[in-house]
Amino acid sequence: MNLFCVGLSHHTANVETRERFAGGARAESTLREAGCAEALVLATCNRVEVYGASEKRVSTDEIAHCLLQNRELSDRGHSETLPFYRYEAEKCVQHLFRVASGLDSMVVGETEILGQTKKAYQSARTSGAVGPCLHRLFQRAFRVAKQVRTHTEITRGSVSVGSVAVDLAQKIFGELGNCSVLILGAGETSERTARVLISRGVTDLRVSNRSTDRAQELAQRVSGQAVRFDQWPQQCCEIDILITSTSSEAPLLTPANLGPVLAHRIDRPLFIIDIAVPRDVDPAVNEMEGVYLYDIDALRSVAEQSLAVRRQQIASAEAIIAEHVADFLEKISRELSRASRITGHPPVADSSRATQL
């Protein structure tokens, strides 16, 4: 049985090309008609890949043809060079383990891919496109991904500004359900950050903006409460998180005007996310006790630190994967030998075992 992977990803193709080959609902059955004994299509926003097992070799062109969404595109597709890669046997196993572990992702270490792989596997299994070969391969891939996640720091920290801000908030307050958030300035980034906070349990949201109408609009969108702009300093006594993104030329928050507010909340920390440029909050505010100020550069720097750590962890993750690839191939090879002894066929030579699983 030949095990292979044919696909294109963010490394090799742009989004338009990936869309064309995203595969339809019938892709797996079409692949089986083309000669694949087992087939699984993994289609995400960053990759379209076919994992297959077949007795005879199925060409890359045939697979690409099966993936095309409709005949019109199919006709056009034949006249151009397709940016597909193809991995066979050992390379295919290694590639899947890397994909499932997030090493091949655009953001190294992201965990969404594992969920997407599991979903693709479930769907193919339900439709009967997955047989024993792909079943074992994918089960091992899930195990490897879990081990990589547990034994390395590949998934550590967040790598987007919004997620970093929310992670930091959780490191200060723990559960965010009891936190009050004030959004100062109805900008797009503050709305996005607020939405991430809502998704982590924040319910008390207040919005203040120079234009009351815009404050009310945003408050409605995020199920919050609009606050008049001249009242936001008083709100600082009650809130836990302040997100500022106004277009003010001078800092709105300085040690002088924050000092009296802090005197009333000595045992409660205040987390300030300043995403305005120029900044809304005087950097000296960070020196005040109980105040944690992060501007856009600080958030980006934290995101970059996380990304750097993840990159450092690639070698450890690759070592785990290499170990599993060798073990997986050895087990399969042993099973082939056992099967050949039972059926009476001559055993497959070691060199060809790797390509014939």
């Binding site: 034994h151 390395t152 720091e153 550590r156 920290g157 930091l168 959780q170 490191k171 200060i172 307050f173 723990g174 000595i266 045992d267 920390p269 960070n286 006790e289 109980g290 944690y292 992060y294 600080a298 720097s301 934290v302 630190q305 750590v309 450092q312 962890q313 450890s316």
Partner: protein, 264 residues
């Protein structure tokens, strides 16, 4: 024989320290079962040591500075075993183990295991007073450790330099809640210890009383500041460290003076 148990116990705690150190250097620090198991095993050997020593003495093994240090280390491990899993402070083990190694290591190396030539008569009230006070010290030690964890976490959040350990430390508010609870536990136990000291049937040396009341007042002031929200959490954390350092020094002084007094 009993010292061998103590050496094994210290090795167990040391294993937890080494493992944490190696993980920190490799940048893959994570609190795992190993630390908890190593501390648990160390605690078992500590308990065995104290039990054998207690049987040999026919009383609670608190007759010299050596035994006081070991009992204190045992109290720290005990409180950790109770508090760690409850408040999801498993990482506290990584901070607790070095303190226990320090206490036991010092007790093993320093020539402070002075046996009394005359067997001291058992005095249940005195033993209760001493043991409850030392368990209170264990709670104060854990509050001190939680204080260190709070300051480490706070510093990283302030400077925006988030290291591997940052992701495994509990949130600031959780740590502060743990500090507060440990301070209250320690304070209540210490109060019981001090009050029971007056019912031991023995005259209490004035220095010991003054030192004990001094420690009690120090922790009462911290708790009062916390209760009335007059002291910021960061300062409470710092005061826990200062408070325990003072308490430990005074404990040494009290035990040393009591030992000298009994020898004379």
């Amino acid at each position: 024989m009993d010292r061998d148990l103590l050496i094994i116990s210290t090795i167990c705690f040391l294993a937890a320290v080494v493992r944490t150190g190696v993980a920190l250097r490799a940048g893959v620090f994570r609190p795992g079962r190993f630390t908890f198991l190593a501390i648990g095993l160390g605690f078992v050997f500590q308990t065995a040591f104290l039990s054998i020593r207690g049987h040999a003495l026919g009383r609670c093994p608190l007759t010299n500075l050596f035994e006081v240090f070991i009992f204190l280390a045992w109290s720290v491990a005990l409180i950790y075993m109770l508090v760690g899993p409850t408040y999801r402070l498993s990482l506290m083990g990584a901070f607790t183990a070095p303190l226990v190694v320090l206490l036991q290591g010092f007790a093993l190396i320093a020539p402070i295991d002075v046996r009394h030539s005359v067997k001291m008569p058992a005095n249940p009230a005195l033993e209760f007073h001493a043991s409850v006070s030392l368990v209170a010290y264990g709670a104060f030690a854990l509050a001190c450790i939680a204080g260190v964890m709070y300051l480490v976490q706070e510093r990283q959040l302030k400077t925006h330099q988030l290291r591997s350990i940052f992701y495994h430390l509990p949130p600031l508010t959780d740590l502060f809640a743990a500090i507060t609870r440990l301070l209250w536990w320690g304070f209540i136990l210490y109060t019981i210890g001090i009050v029971s000291g007056f019912f031991t049937g023995r005259p209490l040396p004035r220095v010991q009383v003054v030192a004990a009341v001094g420690v009690w007042l120090l922790y009462a002031a911290i708790l009062q500041g916390r209760y009335f929200r007059r002291i910021a959490p960061k300062r409470v954390a710092a005061l826990c460290i200062i408070g325990f350092s003072v308490a430990l020094t005074l404990l040494w002084g009290i035990t040393f003076s009591a030992q000298t007094h009994s020898v004379q």
